[in-house]
Subunit: 370 residues, 2 copies
Amino acid sequence: MIAAPARVGDAFEAIDTPALLVDLDAFERNVAAAQAHVNACGARLRPHGKAHRCSTIAMLQIAAGATGVCCQKVGEAEVFVAAGIADVLVTNVVVGESKARRLAALGPRARVAVCVDSLLQIEQIASAVRALDTHLDLLIEIDVGNRRCGVDSPGEAVDLARAIAAHAPWLSLRGLQAYHGKAQHLRSTGERAVAIGKAAAQAALIASALRADGHECAEVTGAGTGTYPYELASGVYTEVQPGSYALMDLDYGANQRDPDAPPTTYALSLLATVITVRCGHAVLDCGHKSVAIDSGAPRVELGGWRVRGLSDEHTVIEKSGEAEALAVGQKVRMLPGHCDPTVNLHDWIVATRGERVEALWPVDARGASF
Amino acid sequence: MIAAPARVGDAFEAIDTPALLVDLDAFERNVAAAQAHVNACGARLRPHGKAHRCSTIAMLQIAAGATGVCCQKVGEAEVFVAAGIADVLVTNVVVGESKARRLAALGPRARVAVCVDSLLQIEQIASAVRALDTHLDLLIEIDVGNRRCGVDSPGEAVDLARAIAAHAPWLSLRGLQAYHGKAQHLRSTGERAVAIGKAAAQAALIASALRADGHECAEVTGAGTGTYPYELASGVYTEVQPGSYALMDLDYGANQRDPDAPPTTYALSLLATVITVRCGHAVLDCGHKSVAIDSGAPRVELGGWRVRGLSDEHTVIEKSGEAEALAVGQKVRMLPGHCDPTVNLHDWIVATRGERVEALWPVDARGASF
């Protein structure tokens, strides 16, 4: 593991760069506001660990009232369970005998659930769970508009529920995974509300079909930072899975804010150093090996300067008006476009309060995509 | 460190996914062809470690005749020196007292050089090197068309050379770093040849100015996979720094090939699993947390299918004509758009020969961007 770019107690200026910072005051406000909102709706908050891949953050979210954590990959679940997290949901379909065995091995150690959308998966997971004489909960992933994984008809869901029931008591159906990823960044509150209205109606329809066929469907889970107040308002969802709300990024910051939604602040930033100053442009010591660009370039927090472009290890910035003077060696903050893949580029999160390093958090599930 | 997705001796089908594969036959051909070409020109090949961040690959390149390795970051240099590589060039300007100290600490352990383009850096590095009573070589980075770091006039270069000379014997001027990054992916051979012709002329002009002022300028180094035959042909460059040639990617594959340039084959691929098959689309278990998309989407090696889009952990593929039938659980290869940031997402390279795993190479400088 790469060494941390700072030490606890360091002043801001002593942090080596590029370094990923979390402002603790902002982070704590974000976590508390979302938790209070979900509590007030009588639902459960299961923050998404894909956004931070950091068991320390997951533990802080659970300490604030979250019901557990969710993640996208078996590798992430392994890290979170090893860190002592007792309730982990893999919000993704998982295929392959090796992965089924790895999941089953978590069964005796935590309350673990995983999503399915095909009979093959159910058979692979059942076989692995029976071999270890353990237990896993399954959720049927349904496609509520994402057009990716998941079944989209009540009939398909019933077929899967019957196949799960045939493997009792090793497997149980916990309910439905109904995440609408494409709705998260619809910019207007109206578009997001409409998309989630349709998603909730479809989830309710499929849940009814399962119950009519004699299956329990205790949980309907899904939602992200952009929409979870709408899933909660629908009354259909019992649990929500926002992830980015704790750290935030420019892409979520660009959404029109619903006045009823919990407020969020940018808690995540990348600290960089000016390495070259030329006539009209300057260069920072970070590129897209340190900050993800899948949702656009980061923003430089420097009056009168904007990002011209990034390469692997450099960001070129240029003047855009009345520009602050820049000197070689000066430290600069950048706000990432997308927090999830940005955190995944780093081994350490430097947790700061004011201008001082308060903690170093290992990104212990970084790279755990398999 | 995340566990490896395969074991030595595994058949192809036993590899867990997503996994980064290197086809050893293709890799060895690429390495040998480039080395033979550079040798025939009477120059030195210093492969760029930014492309692979893997000391095992660097050692294999050195065993094939390379003069050492280059890298972009002090963190990478630390990993390569720790792995026993005796000659490391940081092809980037490095700013900050902490980084200068870390560089100086490498001085007694290997032949290490770094680039400068400002007086502040020279003072920082000199101070660190004197404190340890060791030695570093410096190269003046010049801007030969990249419009990023580097000075672009003979006068500025002479000022830097004088500042370096003032710190003899702790610092020595080795020569010029003259890399034209923007020329690498100019698609036609003609455009690349013209761009490098200008770069070489500027490097020659600045080298003459340094010599006229009494400085040695033994080395002119630079070049990448897209252009290095032109730098060699110029007679100005003594050393070339291609990196991607060993692994290759779609972005370099899209360049018009110079018939005189060494041939290259795609050696790098990402192995993925089909997790969902729906009407008209299917989903793979890898997204842009496993394959970089800064230079475009990866290509799926599957007749009649093309990539519709990637999210963090999923790739959606769709039919584009006469499509092969796909089944859940099937393994699929993808060719990355850009090798450097793709390798940086992985802890392990699975080195295969034919359909069997021959070796597991740790990406030991993964994440070493600081």
